[in-house]
């Protein structure tokens, strides 16, 4: 029994922190808000060189056989430094889905993703903003030339720089009826429109108007898409939680430092129990998220069932991240409301993290379903 990271993880975390501090300080994070790319291609290439775009892939597919726990250590640093990056969308969700595809049709694309040359992003959510297999309703109809898709996907990250979109479509009414297809956003009938959002993040509406997808662009088996996508989403969910942990730790450091130096009524505000208790709330929320996140990652690495543990982690993390930013704002008061403060950078991203990959309500239901049986 040891719930703690190993020394090798600590070393990996140090490397990631140094890299992000050097290449993506918060000044860059600010510049990238609303930027035409929304990420740093040089850092992306560097991560490819470190094998971080394929860390957990099998070695035969260009991976280095790393674990999800390894990757979660890097994700804590993503969260701490607020690195804007298509990593979760491309290297994790799309990449880990393609890794499980055995059609032989997508090897070149995956190789190009591993090399850092191609970005592939999932297009999952529809205008009703639901998450999970039941929320996939966009139909793909059979035509002589292949599948024809019509409809709209929302909150698609980095669609503007993607080589391909990994689109979840419905080919049958049954729960199993989800088919994944790769679509080039430059295809006739595809329109990509930026969605104005709280963090000026690269999130897009993608509409498909009579877009025809040839059969060889299907990923996995027809009607069996969720069996590939689901596991990739579970893994991405754990990493999103790790990102929240890193952000929580950063906000704890910021808040404790501010409470130590800021003086009111003739003493540091950190002497007031009301302020101390806000800081302890941040510590508790981050730490419990971390424990849940590590457990879920470890179970996935060990090959144990982990649906429940993933849901526990994200249900908690979605609420925790709001508790954390709330307390950080209470400690910093007016200062954190100003754009020049760093706290608000976390606050605005926290909204996306709270909802992404299933909000608390969704995962609560997964947890309850597990208790029911």
């Amino acid at each position: 029994m040891d719930t703690t990271l190993d020394d090798s993880h600590d070393e990996l975390g140090r490397i990631a922190r140094q890299l992000f501090d050097a290449r993506c300080p918060l000044t860059s994070v600010r510049q990238l808000e609303g930027d035409s790319l929304g990420y740093l291609p040089a850092l992306w290439a560097e991560m490819a060189g470190l094998d971080w775009l394929s860390l957990t892939y099998p070695e035969a597919l260009g991976g280095s056989g790393g674990t999800l726990v390894d990757l979660s250590v890097i994700y804590q640093e993503f969260g701490r430094a607020l690195v804007p990056s298509p990593h979760l969308a491309s290297a994790v969700i799309a990449g880990e889905t393609l890794v499980q595809d055995h059609s032989g049709n997508h090897g070149d694309l995956l190789a190009s993703m591993v090399a850092g040359d191609a970005i592939v992003v999932p297009a999952l959510m529809e205008p009703d903003a639901g998450f999970g297999p039941d929320a996939v309703t966009m139909a793909a109809r059979t035509t002589p030339a292949g599948y024809r898709i019509d409809g709209t996907k929302v909150l698609v990250p980095y669609a503007h720089v993607a080589e391909r979109l990994l689109v979840a479509t419905r080919t049958q009414a049954s729960p199993d009826g989800i088919t994944l297809v790769l679509v080039d956003p430059a295809t006739e009938g595809v329109a990509v429109t930026a969605m104005a959002n709280i963090a000026d993040a690269p999130l897009f509406e993608v509409t498909f108007d009579q877009v025809v997808v040839p059969p060889e662009h299907v990923v996995g088996e027809i009607g069996r898409g969720w069996s590939l996508l689901g596991p990739a989403l579970d893994r991405a969910t754990v990493l999103r939680c790790a990102e929240i942990v890193g952000a929580g730790k950063a906000l704890l450091d910021l808040s404790v430092a501010y409470a130590q130096e800021r003086k009111q009524f003739g003493r540091p505000i950190g002497q007031f129990q009301a302020v101390q208790f806000l800081c302890t709330d941040i510590a508790i929320a981050s730490h419990l998220t971390e424990l849940l996140c590590h457990q879920a990652a470890w179970r996935l690495d060990t090959g144990l069932p982990a649906r429940r543990e993933v849901a526990l982690a994200k249900s908690y993390a979605s609420r925790a991240v709001q508790r954390i930013v709330h307390c950080a704002h209470e400690v910093h008061a007016g200062v954190a409301f100003m754009v020049e403060a760093d706290v608000q950078l976390y606050t605005r991203r926290a909204k996306h993290w709270e909802y992404d990959l299933g909000e608390a309500r969704y995962h609560d239901d997964v947890i309850a379903a597990g208790m029911e049986v």
């Binding site: 719930t3 130590q260 800081c279 510590a283 995962h363 309850a368």
Partner: protein, 389 residues
């Protein structure tokens, strides 16, 4: 990183389960209404002696002091299995606090004189720390122990002496040097509660238990009943519980209760549908599940820090805060799920889950024992996060 127990540890768990199968009839378990019932007490004493005979009271203590020299992990497994069955193992002040203080600060002679007895449950120990004017600020305690030749004369008052009227001896903290700084002038003793000058008056708590005021009017304590060294009592108290092997398995207690509430929700129809299908109930069940899970992980984290020789994170206070604050919250959410019948107690045929939600709600306000959550938050803020005092 490894969240599993080893094969040997799992084998020990089986051994504990077999012991409980043999020695603990279900009607003799600690229950929600554990009170002054003489039969329950007689069984608890008998059962605890059997645990002692197995060597499990002093499971982690060195062999030369009556222990078995086993691991903290096995001690947690024991706690988990005992908690799962509500096993009535009494004398926590003896095997937790007194034995811990002896292991931390006792001389070799003292350890040999006291510990084998505690391991066999030869006497029942009461707690003698809290005073009417010294609760959270325990170091301000004013009960005096003054030298009289080789002996000590004790005068003062303790309070909340849980089950003190059943006890033989008291683990007493008293001020031996009124001129030293508060934390440095305290010593701890084993005080015979049958000695002349000791008296008690009852205090009944709302969970059905009896606590007491305990008065000392010139009570003579022999010199060899001073535990450890004079003036070092505070540091013994702070480190005792863990040293004695006192690990809690509250997550198991919560697990058992939550499982029962889930069964209730699966079997109960309200407003035309099963409770378990109500989205609000589902969210509340998930919230309770998260409390159980996070407390379990905190317990395992603290165990793995201890067994791998790492200092506890956050001044050791984070898990305590979480557990203390969860206690009433858990009881309240559970009552909300169950609904109006949750006010019924054991004895009513309508009481859901055998009156568990009602009893837990009352019990949950015992969460101050060992220090309030506010005090623990102050420790977390200052020692754990480095905020100024």
């Amino acid at each position: 990183m490894d969240f599993n127990f080893t094969a040997d540890e799992n084998a020990f768990r089986k051994e504990v389960q077999a012991f409980l199968d043999a020695e603990l009839p279900s009607d003799k378990a600690f229950n929600h209404e554990f009170n002054e019932d003489a039969d329950l007490w007689a069984f608890a004493f008998e059962f605890t002696k059997k645990v002692g005979a197995k060597g499990w009271i002093g499971l982690t203590w060195p062999v030369e002091y009556g222990g078995l020299g086993r691991t903290q992990t096995e001690r947690l497994i024991l706690a988990e299995e005992f908690t799962a069955r509500d096993a009535p193992m009494v004398n926590m002040i003896g095997w937790g606090l007194a034995a811990g203080a002896l292991l931390v600060g006792g001389s070799d002679e003292q350890k040999k004189r006291f510990l084998p007895g505690i391991a066999a449950f030869d006497r029942f120990w009461a707690e003698g720390l809290t005073e009417p004017d010294s609760g959270s600020d325990l170091a301000s305690l004013s009960t005096r122990a003054e030298r009289d030749g080789d002996d000590w004369m004790v005068t003062g008052q303790k309070t909340y002496t849980t089950w003190g009227h059943h006890a033989d001896v008291m683990f007493l903290a008293a001020r031996t040097d009124p001129d030293a700084p508060p934390h440095r002038g305290i010593s701890v003793f084993c005080l015979d509660l049958k000695a002349p000058g000791v008296s008690m008056s009852p205090l009944y708590n709302m969970a059905g238990g009896r606590q007491n005021h305990t008065f000392f009017d010139g009570v003579r304590v022999p010199g060899d009943m001073l535990i450890g060294e004079e003036g070092k009592g505070w540091s013994y108290i702070m480190n005792a519980f863990y040293a004695g092997g006192g690990v809690g398995a509250r997550h198991i207690e919560m697990r058992v209760m939550l499982d029962a509430v889930v069964e209730y929700c699966k079997a109960t129809t309200r407003g035309g549908g099963l409770l378990i299908k109500d989205p609000m109930v589902r969210s509340q069940l998930a919230e309770l599940e998260l409390m159980v899970e996070t407390e379990r992980l905190l317990t395992y984290e603290s165990l793995s820090n201890a067994t791998n020789g790492r200092p506890p994170q956050f001044g050791g206070a984070l898990g305590v805060v979480v557990s203390k604050e969860n206690k009433p919250l858990f009881a309240q959410i559970m009552s909300q799920i169950v609904g109006p019948l949750a006010q019924l107690r054991q004895g009513s045929r309508w009481a859901p889950v055998d009156g568990g939600p009602e009893a837990w709600y009352r019990w949950s306000y015992a969460n101050h024992a060992g220090g309030t959550s506010q005090v623990k938050r102050m420790v977390l803020a200052t020692r754990g996060l480095g905020l100024p005092r």
